[in-house]
């Protein structure tokens, strides 16, 4: 069965330091991978996605993510964190081999709260 794991409930980073939010996945076929961010009392905003091609994907607000097939990971990164990056981050996966009524559905991780201190 397809699944997504975000092993850290919370990540704390000092402003200006690099940040990493971890995500690992399990699928039957090739994965389509997504990162979303949720600011307090708001809906989710799309950050970036990996479908195929270059393993390093660049997205909104200076974020990037690296697809690693051998480690089944898709970690979110940013070279220099801002206080305004503090939010809840969700990784999601879509299994290209998952046929049937649920084909195309996104499976979300439980979320990682990022806290960036000045």
């Amino acid at each position: 069965a397809q699944s997504v794991a975000q092993p850290e409930d919370q990540v704390n980073v000092a402003e200006g330091n690099p940040l990493t939010v971890k995500c690992t996945y399990s699928v039957s076929g090739n994965p389509y991978l997504f990162w979303y961010v949720q600011y307090p009392n708001r809906g989710l905003q799309f950050l970036l996605k990996y479908i195929t091609g270059d393993n390093l994907v660049k997205g909104s607000y200076g974020f990037e993510a690296e697809f690693n097939k051998s480690q089944t990971s898709f970690h979110l990164k940013k070279p220099s964190a801002l206080v305004s990056d503090s939010a809840l981050y969700f990784c999601a996966v879509r299994d290209t081999m998952n046929y049937g009524g649920s084909q195309g559905n996104l499976i979300f991780g439980k979320g990682t709260k990022l806290s960036v201190k000045p």
Partner: protein, 113 residues
Amino acid sequence: DVKVTQSSRYLVKRTGEKVFLECVQDMDHENMFWYRQDPGLGLRLIYFSYDVKMKEKGDIPEGYSVSREKKERFSLILESASTNQTSMYLCASSLGLMVGEQYFGPGTRLTVT
């Protein structure tokens, strides 16, 4: 920009009431989704629709129903609200079912007392 709007940001209802949550998207997307978000559980799919009048159950459809009479509108219905349905409800839409990212509304925080 894609815009997904939800009828209410905050809603308080009593146990047993029938509750309607409405979602409208303005980008002609075929696919629409309803999720609930609970702390520590992430997002869980309730129902989705890939065309007008079409609907598919997600992971937690019990206690909910949906309606999609027009392409831009997807309604979530709680036939008889219960306290365990207190949650944040998020609507989303997407263009492509496989490669397309989903665009989310601001959410409705529903409290059932």
